[in-house]
């Protein structure tokens, strides 16, 4: 075919245009690709921690933005600002209710509108340390008086990245009225073997009952597993990040849970979902080894058995062993990109270590007339069994849960750091644990399988 001069010119123009478009696209890709994080070829990406110092100014001035979860706790913290301003009138606290889980990561990465302080789950502190101030210097005067478990969960590579706020001791909640009817004395339950025996006795009294809670949600079951492990002073990984799932404490815990299942003593239900509430209120489920925040259930969710529940220290794994472990908890963190990190420290120091502050948080207030009773302070001088900050709980038969929880918390061993990949491990350990509780895996298989998956997918990829 012969090419006409017109066609040839048009083709050339088309070719030029296409070439220009490709070049422009390539330029765009190059420019856009250059934006973003620096790419290196090796080495450690973690930034060396910046250590925060306390402000020298005696009457500091400025504004701080503080993020808290929405809900009742936000209202509690909000009410403390007035007390804070009595001491620091020059500091304006801009208090914001934020969905921290969904907003914090993006905010820290982009560095835009970064708050001065954030209320954060202990399990998440480790994953944000590159963005946070190391608080070891400002916390130094208080460290020896903070619950060791809380120091451990906020410690990463030797730095402390959160102001340890609350401590959530594990307790054994039990239905006192039901146990009394069955002739069971809860004071006799000192070890987990005792608990098994009591559960069997209760089942004889009430056939069909499944007295012990066996958590059916993967995340919460892993959290509960860590509470049990905390009693041994261990956790999924050591301070260097090495996995320690394949160890005697985990063998013992998993075997005990498997025994509860095999003996038909466990109620399989998700924490306070309808099945759980039904079993609790019907008297079929009478033992609940859980964090102190289970006391929310008799106060707000249970109806038929409201007033029948009590709390006692967890059983020990061996006679004389620790009678509590930590389950959950939160701390205050201060981002490196905060505008006024030193003022944020003053705010958190007030809430955590000063009597006016922690009394305002835990004591009776407009939101909780009896005080905030779903956790206790991690600062030992604030957690005095003889000086309760919150009142006895009517929905728990007027029990002084403060005293029970504070005394139990003193038994929680340290040495149980939370690895930064803890939440991601739920897909492996949490899921395998559920399989075991459904009878399709043995404790050893859980340890082998979850251990291998966590090592491959999390430890080695960090």
């Amino acid at each position: 075919m012969r090419t006409t001069p017109g066609r040839s010119a048009r083709g050339a123009r088309l070719l030029t245009r296409r070439g220009a478009a490709v070049a422009a696209a390539a330029l765009l890709v190059t420019v856009l690709s250059a934006c973003g994080p620096d790419i290196g070829s090796g080495g450690d990406s973690s930034a060396s921690g910046s250590v925060l110092q306390a402000p020298a100014d005696n009457s500091p001035k400025g504004e701080i933005t503080i993020w808290d979860r929405s809900g009742d706790l936000f209202k509690v913290f909000d009410a403390t600002i007035k007390e804070f301003n009595k001491k620091y009138p020059g500091i304006t606290v801009k208090h914001e209710a934020v969905d921290i889980d969904s907003k914090l990561q993006n905010t820290l990465i982009t560095g835009t509108d970064v708050p001065d302080g954030v209320f954060l789950d202990d399990a998440k502190v480790g994953s944000y340390v590159d963005h946070l101030w190391n608080l070891q210097d400002v916390l130094a005067p208080y460290s020896k008086d903070i619950a060791p478990q809380k120091v451990a969960v906020n410690t990463v590579h030797g730095g402390i990245y959160g102001v340890p706020f609350d401590l959530d001791p594990g307790l054994l909640f039990y239905n006192a009225k039901a146990l009394s009817a069955a002739g069971i004395d809860p004071n006799g339950i000192k070890t987990y073997d005792d608990l098994l025996a009591a559960a069997k006795k209760y089942q004889q009294y009430k056939p069909g009952a499944k007295p012990i809670h066996l958590e059916q949600d993967a995340f919460n079951s892993q959290l509960q597993l860590e509470m049990y492990a905390s009693q041994f002073g261990t956790s999924l990984a050591d301070a260097n990040g090495a996995l320690r799932l394949d160890s005697a404490p985990y063998h013992q815990i998993l075997t005990w849970l498997d025994t509860v299942r095999k003996d038909g003593l466990g109620t399989r239900a998700e924490y306070l979902k309808p099945t759980d509430v039904g079993a609790l209120d019907s008297g079929d489920e009478v033992f609940y080894p859980w964090a102190i925040w289970f006391d929310f259930a008799p106060q707000q969710q249970l109806t038929a058995t409201k007033g029948d529940w009590r709390a006692m220290p967890l059983p020990a794994w061996s006679p004389g062993g620790a009678r509590s472990g930590a389950m959950g908890g939160a701390s205050f963190v201060i981002p490196k990109d905060a505008k006024n990190p030193q003022l944020a420290w003053l705010f958190y120091r007030f809430l955590t270590f000063e009597q006016a502050g922690y009394s305002a948080v835990y004591g009776p207030n407009a939101v909780y007339p009896g005080g905030l009773n779903t956790s206790i302070p991690s600062y030992r001088p604030a957690a005095d069994p003889a000086k309760p900050l919150f009142r006895p709980i009517d929905a728990m038969g007027g029990q002084d849960v403060w005293k029970t929880a504070v005394e139990a918390s003193q038994e929680i061993p340290g040495g149980a750091p939370i690895p930064s990949w803890w939440a991601a491990a739920v897909d492996y350990l949490g899921t395998d644990l559920q399989k075991m509780l459904d009878g399709s895996l043995t404790p050893q298989q859980v340890i082998d399988q979850a251990g291998k998956d966590i090592q491959t997918n999390l430890v080695e990829r960090k």
């Binding site: 010119a9 765009l28 690709s33 990406s45 039904g278 939440a423 559920q434 399989k435 997918n457």
Partner: protein
Amino acid sequence: MTTRPVPVRAVKVFRDEQRAEPATTAAPRARRTLPWRRRLAPYAFVLPFVAVFLAFSVYPLFFTLRLSFTDWHGAGAAHWVGLGNYRYLLTNDAFWASLGNSGVLWLLIVPVQLVLAVIVAVLLGAIKRLRGFYRVTFVVPFVTPLVAVAQIWIVLFDQNYGPVNTVLGALGLPQVGWLVDSMWAKPTLALLFLWKTTGFVVLIVLSGLQQIDGGLYEAASLDGAGRLRQLWSITVPLLRRSLMFCVVLQTLAVFQMFVEPYVVTGGGPYTSTTTAGLFLFKHINSGDLGTGAANSFLLVIVVMALSLLFVRLLRAED
């Protein structure tokens, strides 16, 4: 007013004349002589869109692409890992399981939804009284906040105290672990998705129905075709484009499904409802941004392949 049909041949001649026009005619010359302001005007008009598109679509796209070749965790320097993240995902059972879960959900949702939508749309088209009321009724679930619906689902389908099992029990049927049994969790989630989004699909199908010439039904009726025959031979074929649009749209939605499993099942039991969207979220939420970025690109490839397949099927039918 009636319009005289234009003969096909006349249209062809006109098109041929247009094509035959030499390239060096007055038109390009006229363009060259336009004042520069007039020549720039079209570009100025599209500039706002282009700027927004570059900032919020193209830039994130390339940023993510670049991220997918690194081990960046949101802070510090990112290390180049080449195809490491892709290799990791493609050899990871959990990644394939998440795609499999989404695939099963697709099978449980999309075909059922299309059949339901056609039936409901046809019925809505036929209804004379309270038509507006029924249309609104079907759309209400679509505008109801998903998280609220998900919470209701948790209560409705509770194994021991949910109304659904209560009804089954009253009928002498066995109790089902809707949300705690890995066999039933997917169908229960699919049901939630169907309830929530079928109204939207009905709207699309309804608009497609309104494009069908009523004369076709009259002619078919005169030829003796019954209602079912008309549905099968006229309605469904002429709705093909609307239906294919719905298929592509819902394929995207199913493979990106996140809130439903996140709220209702948390991806369980045993990750049986960890969809591709939820699996991707887990990487990002745990700060593994490089793997998350690679996962999102793999997901894009899967969804694009499926969409292209459906479009090809449609073209083949045409």
